[in-house]
Symmetry: D2
Subunit: 139 residues, 4 copies
């Protein structure tokens, strides 16, 4: 698949996910085993202190892990499990999640993800995640 085809396929998957449409996430870039998702900050994504809600960062990490794993496995895929550490409050105009597969076998891939908040154009690392992505046909 060409990079353009990857981005097109990723955009189609996101467009088919009502929850992703609700949040407004977009594909930034995709390559085999690597993806960037972008989410413009909006008032309805915040928690009570004015930061992006942890659930938004989790959603973004989870989705980015799935995409990175799916492209590494060259298959439709889903997140089997992941863990996330929140590092600092996410404030700014944009959230970016960058994930990559560190290993891909026949049926599963292990991926890592960094989630950044961009404020006035400056990226700050807000969360890091690690998880297992499995091919859709699996148990």
């Amino acid at each position: 698949m060409t990079p353009e085809a990857f981005v097109k396929r990723g955009a189609e998957i996101l467009a088919a996910q009502p929850f992703s449409r609700l949040l407004g996430v977009e594909i930034g870039a995709v390559a085999p085993g690597r993806v960037e998702l972008r989410l413009a900050m909006k008032p309805e994504l915040l928690q009570q202190h004015g930061f992006a809600h942890g659930g938004v960062l989790s959603y973004l990490a989870d989705n980015a892990l799935t995409f990175a794993g799916g492209t590494a496995l060259a298959s439709d895929a889903l997140t089997s499990e992941y863990k996330i550490n929140y590092l600092r409050p996410a404030v700014g105009e944009l959230l970016i999640a960058r994930a990559e597969a560190v290993n891909a076998g026949r049926t599963q891939a292990v991926c890592r993800c960094d989630v950044f908040a961009v404020r006035d154009g400056v990226e700050k690392l807000c969360a890091v995640a690690q998880g297992t992505i499995v091919k859709l046909t699996q148990d």
Copy 2:
């Protein structure tokens, strides 16, 4: 705090979180170190296969862990980190997250959470999570 006061405080926090209002989560029950959150399924919470999006389950687990930890610590609190395993597709009319603190120290609590999907009144375990909740004043 009485159980009623706990529920009232929890409902206030959720009402103060725009993202929680967007999703529509409600407090089911709260006691020190124990909480139940409920989220009615809606079309906009789904992914492309018609199941609740993983990000919704993560959000619910994350929030339930925070509440369980916060009540155990008797403090405003936030999730420092957690991991989640997805067990099966979440289908049905309602999602329920039940979390409890397994340990609480001076500044942090470790909590576990079970997320159920309720279909035709029958609960099925869809995800399990475990994480660390810290008092808000902490690093």
Copy 3:
């Protein structure tokens, strides 16, 4: 398999693991999806403050998760991933790990584990873990 057969099979596996023999772990009890491992405290299992080394607790949790998952899957199995939270220093004469499968599919099981230190006969919860166990034939 009878409970006795489970314990016998578990003891055989531990006996075949040089690292488990080095540490001295023993099977306490086994049932489908459920296991107890016991490890007598010895000076060489400690860290610099006189507590059981975290690596010992991790080893115990990891092994207990594998056994719980393997009996749930009725198969030789291995730990694919897990996370562990340490709750308090492990001091005493004995360590006990109790694990159980919370879900078992065709090729993998998700399990939880509690690790206790026993001092003067009193059990204290020292660590909690959660992880994924896969059948040995898998990717």
Copy 4:
């Protein structure tokens, strides 16, 4: 601290840990927020299939995470929690764990670790870990 002082302090800590002496781990290199641990493979570190026991990889990852976090925090430290994904069987003459802090606050650091098995001089990534390291004075 100079790199030499870091290595010396790390070696002292390992020498003070009976369990680390039992396994035979050595400091490879240390810098603020970064560490390498090395463990020569020995028969007693194996499981029943002739690979390094998962508990050995966990021990190594856990210890490397603690060292990376401790140097980032400039303090004695301990691992609060971590998760590990096993990627492939660890075979060879040497295990190497490389950890680095991705973030350090006032009281805790979040670190990542890669564990390699070296066979005939070739490194293969066998496990990846991520966890939270806290200053020793903390709760």
